[in-house]
């Protein structure tokens, strides 16, 4: 097992943890953190592939992901704060009015 395989395995593991967290947790903050975990798992995969291929494309992609993630954190957190202010709860299941 070489370095790349170990790193990719770690990336997949982290992504899975993040995905399961998004699906099963109710607290909006935790869900949000799990989303970040999934993003960083992909970043890790990008960087690993950049290293394997010996070029910078993957690293550039990782930078883009970080920028987008930073912007997303701003919007996402402000939404969560707004919801918490109105409902006194950060549970995502409570914010289920937009349905049939």
């Amino acid at each position: 097992m070489n370095d790349a395989t170990a790193l990719l395995t770690l990336s997949a593991l982290l992504f899975t943890i993040g995905a399961v967290g998004v699906l099963v947790r109710r607290n909006a903050i935790v869900v949000f953190m799990c989303v970040e975990l999934m993003l960083n798992a992909t970043n890790l995969a990008f960087v690993t592939f950049a290293r394997v291929n010996g070029n910078l494309d993957g690293q550039i992609a990782a930078f883009f992901v970080m920028v987008v993630a930073a912007a997303e954190v701003v919007v996402g957190l402000s939404i969560i704060v707004a919801i918490f202010r109105t409902r006194r709860s950060a549970s995502v299941d409570d914010a289920s009015l937009l349905k049939y």
Partner: protein, 632 residues
Amino acid sequence: MLETSAADGVLALGWLLVAVPLASAVVLLVGGRRTDPIGHILGTLAPLVSFVIGVVMFVALLGREEAERGAGQRLFTWIDVGGFSVDMGVRFDQLSALFVLLITGVGSLIHIYSIGYMAHDPNRRRFFAFLNLFVAAMLTLVLADDYLVLFLGWEGVGLASYLLIGFWQERWSAAVAAKKAFVVNRVGDLGMALGVMLMFATFGTSSFAGVAAGMPATSDLVATVLGLLLLLAAAGKSAQVPLQSWLLDAMEGPTPVSALIHAATMVTAGVYLVVRSGYVYAQSEIASTAVVIVGLVTLLVGATIGCAKDDIKKVLAGSTMSQIGYMMLAAGLGPAGYAFAIFHLLTHGFFKANMFLGAGSVMHAMDDDVDMRHYGALSRAMPVTFATFAMGYLAIIGFPGFSGFWSKDRIIEAAFADNIVVGLGALLGAGITAFYMTRLMLMTFFSQRRWEDGVKPHESPLSMTGPLVVLAALSVVGGVLILGGWIVDWLEPLTGPEPEHAFGFPAWLMTVAVTVVVIAGVGVAWALFGARPVERVPRARVSPVTRAARRDLYGDALNETVFMRPGQRLTRSLVQVDDRGIDGSVTGLAALVSGTSGQARRTQTGYVRSYALAMLAGALLVVLSLLAVTLT
């Protein structure tokens, strides 16, 4: 045959014939109740003015050379669409002239009679407006020089007939009779409409001249179909078998209407159409034979019905059917019979109008009772009505010297010359006519009193007896038209020369035979209704023929079983198909979509995690399928 010469001088006034009664009808209908006081005066003056114009034009036509007697005048273009053009024109020729004089002359007399007859009716103005409308439409019909313009008048008289049959619309039976007349006439009108379409498809025009010019070059099939379609139209309007059933019910209308529309003029429009379209029937043996058969059957059916009825107007209605059957028969014989058909039409117009008005006068005296079994011995009580009615009676049975004698004899002669069976049928008809008319005379004016309690018969006012006297005089002297063969020569340019009769026996023998049959008919009627008292209640145990005749020879029953009931069943089943099948499939589809979407929207739970799961599943699906594609 149909070329016209310019209508100059007084002959250019033809449009006024129609315009005057039409204007009067419009004034009386639009003016409403305000015109009530002048309704009957204006309504009577209008046909009188038309009659005077008609006489002046007729005299002018008499003064012309024979070749120039077809005065044609183009008023304006009525329809001009693509290659189809119809001119509104007036055609005042030998045939139209006779009809104009009959319609306006007899029409005026009946208008005068109606002043007295309808005096107590609150809607007398409306009655006169409808009568004027009828006169205008009927004149349009006979003055047209194009089948489409003729059709306009044809529908106009149908409308006027409907309005007048149902004039007392508060009576259920009158409303039903009007509707029946309208519907049965519509069947005939369908033939007319199809005929006009066929003319346009074949000749590109529907004018008389155009059709006559194109006729010799057409195939026999087209000529036969056209002839049969026109016969259907004529049968509807003239109450001929198989469209005869409406005429007997039409007697629900006021009696002057029965006299004018359902005896003297409108019902003869079919005969006019056949005679006018002689060039069509000249091309088709089948169609002209069909006309003869229809005429013969109707003349026997009508006469049979007339024998069994106790309602005085229905006897006269059956008689009208029968007499028009004679005219149709003559018209079917071609140039040999056209002039006699028209001659009989004119004399019939006189004596039948006379007798209908006489019947109206009797009903007036008997408190609107129409049952002849409640009459009897009225000759003393109503001497003028009796005397005038007797003139009509002698005319219709063909008493020598009276108008009917000349006209009916000629038709029977022509029928014998054509075919022995047709001739014998016509001869038999003459005998039955003598029987039922004698029965009517005996039951009404002779035998013993059978009046209802409280009825005091009295002679009618002068406005009613005056027209009766004039019409009685015409019934007597109407035969002068045939003196020296005048009417035959007069119509010859239109009908073509009369072929030589190939008689196997001298004409005087014919006259003797007819007279003998008539005397036999009168004798039988005398034996049954004159020599012994008339029962006040009709006998229930009678022969099957009488039973059938009392029920109009099952004409209505036939129509109901063959057309009405299956038609109703058809429409009901169509409604079922529409409700269950077509509407069902549309609403079912809508319900399916609505139900499915109602279920489908349950998946929109609003929980973020369910959406996230859906996204994950989708992404996995995409990845797996990509893998599957790359690995294979």
